[in-house]
């Protein structure tokens, strides 16, 4: 069985990875990611940084007109890690159900 990914398993980081994974390679801007994960600005920023340092998320900053915009998307490595973590979670549930 695969092992748990401690970087992803933290609740907010799990939500961030889930939200980005559903975008199928398209970036999500910060306000939408905040709305989907229901996180605060500070929390979201710090956990995005952790995921970026792990190489799971790529952060892009640009300007729309004069307004700064921050977007995040999964890296190929992040996509692979998220998929593996979800498989691990399913395996844990299935193994426990079989034992019971």
């Amino acid at each position: 069985m695969a092992t748990s990914d401690d970087v992803i398993h933290q609740p907010l980081r799990l939500k961030i990875m889930a939200a980005l994974s559903a975008e199928k390679g398209q970036p999500l801007d910060f306000p939408r990611l905040k709305a989907i994960t229901q996180a605060t600005d500070g929390n979201l920023g710090s956990h995005l940084t952790t995921l970026e340092k792990a190489g799971y998320v790529a952060i892009e900053k640009d300007f729309v007109g004069k307004r700064p915009r921050t977007q995040a998307k999964l890296t190929p490595e992040g996509r692979k890690a998220f998929r593996a973590h979800v498989e691990y979670l399913r395996a844990v549930v299935e193994a426990a159900d079989e034992e019971a």
Binding site: H9, A18, A22, A35, V92, V93, A95
Partner: protein
Amino acid sequence: MAITRTEAAAALSAIETTQRRGMTLRGYRLGGPILMLWSLIWATGYLTMGLAPPELWLPVWLALDVVGVAGALVLARAGKPAAAGAPPGMTWRLLGGSLSMMVFALSVFWVMKPTDPAAAMAFPGLLIGVIYAVVGFWAAPRYALIGGLMFGLTLVGYFLFQPWLPFWMAAASGALFLSGVWLWRR
């Protein structure tokens, strides 16, 4: 770190909830401009009913419906990034849904033969209101509020402002437009 079954199940559930919320918000973003477009169609249609002779009502509404459905298709395609996972068959769903509603509304008029023009004017508002409400209760809660609003405004217009009903309904389209903005900004 090994995790328990309960933790794993909770994590899977959190993933599902998050992805569903993302899909709902994406749907709002896609649906907002479509609602704004339809509010303009409604305003035009009801103003026609208020200002033009009755023999023009049906052809004008049919033409407006075609414009509305075509516009909705264009907006749905433009607003959906190719890879962003919107449900497949969107074009057919929109076409099928719109056609079903039009056939239903025309059939009701055909069977019930309303003699009161105010009843015929109120019917589309009530129909759209209830459809949005059902969609809202099943999938995207904001549509329930919009449906309730349309339903309520239609009834208020029918019972309190009947002599000016087409103008009331045209003005109520403003509420539909604002609802579209509300959806789109999420």
